[in-house]
Amino acid sequence: MTGGAATIRPKPRAITVAGSAALCLMVVGLYMSVTAPKEETQGEAARLLFVHVPSVITAYIALGTGLVAAAWYLIRRSPTADLVSAAAIEVGVLLTAMTLLTGMIWGRFVWGVWWDWGDARMVSTAVLFFFYLGYLALRRAIVDARVRALRCAVLGIVGFVQVPIVHYSVLWFRTLHQGPSIIRPDLADSTMDAAFVAPLGAALAAFIAALAYLLLVRVRIARLEAAVARSATTSQPVGASVGPPQLGGRDGR
């Protein structure tokens, strides 16, 4: 384990900074979300917006980071790019799951159902989630690091095609889900009441800081795993330390 131990460094400062920022912003975001005025038609269920919307935006950012890092890997064959791509997609899957879950809970309160097959956004998000679960399964299935990095880079690029489909599905199909109110295709200002924009902004900042923290931690863990795997393959086998019988021991003198 000597080779691996040499590469284990103390926790980088960036992780501490991102973690502290995420924690502080979470507290602020939570306070602003709870104290925001009650929404006119949706009531208390509208507070789920402060988790649902930031989770989907940060999921897009994470999967986009995965795409850029995957393309970077194919261009430069940098192992770090592969680790960043994998870490970003893993966190993106977590955030997509959170998006689905909060969307379903919100739907139960506002639409009266957990799931609506007519909702293009909901169905396309579930498809996206299962595709990226497949990505994670492919990653686990390949042992060789180079082959894994190459195949996952290809899949990371192909999979991202679905992200704009998910986002614009509410415009392309007749659906129950409301149209985009933050990232709008005409780049116009938000259609949301100003009283909700500030808590949403705080929650989004908290989610972005949390994303940065999780990414940094996941990349660090992946680096340590790679170092351990390298040391396991390069370290001397136990049998190699035992040589043929030689005179010169305690009784041989």
Binding site: L138, A141, L150, L155, V158, I165
Partner: protein, 226 residues
């Protein structure tokens, strides 16, 4: 490499895969009867309400083609093994030509399977409406081509893996959702004498996107199989 030489390679790879199928017969002799059995069993599970079966017939056909078609397009043929790949590379086979050739072969086999299953669906489910044959043919060709391209792409990604039989469909089915939607809804429209242009355009766009992605990434993908 000239365009002529490239397309000759595409045809050569396609002919090789079809010859392997002709000699082995997995797609038409094993997978098609299995898919036909699914068409027979489905009404037993969901109920034998004739009106319901009339409505879901075209969708069932395409669901079966997509699900069982994955078994055909994800098959690990002679091209899958390392030494054969090395030999083909040394012979100057362009990875993009290999990708397109395998996709075309997969699409032809899927089209054959769909031709076997369509009459059975008509007999068992008796869908209503007078078919617009032109639209149906175009939808079927564009649909099986998209599934062939997708299967070829994913089969390279999972080649040589112990878990490829489960992992392949998990990776290929989510992107196949637009194909399922376009073919089944398009067939519904064609049966009711409405045009299926929007669904056909969706399939054409998907085919174009898959060809571009597949051809651009054929090199790196080929590298991982050696």
């Amino acid at each position: 490499m000239t365009a002529g030489a490239f397309w000759r390679q595409v045809v050569w790879v396609m002919a090789r895969d079809l010859r392997v199928e002709l000699r082995g017969g997995d797609a038409l002799r094993l997978v098609s009867p299995f898919a036909a059995l699914a068409l027979i069993l489905a009404p037993l599970a969901i109920g034998t309400d004739t009106a319901l079966l009339r409505r879901i017939g075209p969708g069932m056909l395409w669901l079966v083609v997509v699900l069982f078609g994955m078994t055909i397009t994800l098959r690990s043929g002679a091209h899958g093994s390392g030494p054969v790949r090395d030999l083909l590379t040394l012979s100057g086979l362009d990875p993009a030509a290999d990708f397109l050739g395998r996709s075309l072969a997969g699409a032809i086999l899927l089209f054959g399977a769909a031709l076997v299953l369509a009459p059975l669906m008509i007999v068992l489910y008796a869908p209503e409406g007078a078919p617009g044959w032109g639209w149906l043919a175009l939808l079927a060709i564009a649909g099986v081509m998209a599934l062939g391209l997708l299967g070829s792409l994913v089969s390279t990604l999972v080649s040589g893996l112990r878990t490829r039989t489960a992992l392949g469909p998990l990776l290929a089915l989510p992107p196949a959702v637009p194909v399922l939607l376009a073919t089944s809804r398009g067939t519904d429209s064609a049966l009711s004498q409405r045009g299926s242009l929007s669904w056909l355009l969706l399939l054409v766009a998907m085919n174009l996107a898959l060809v571009i992605v597949g051809v651009l990434l054929a090199g790196p993908m080929d590298e991982t199989t050696r």
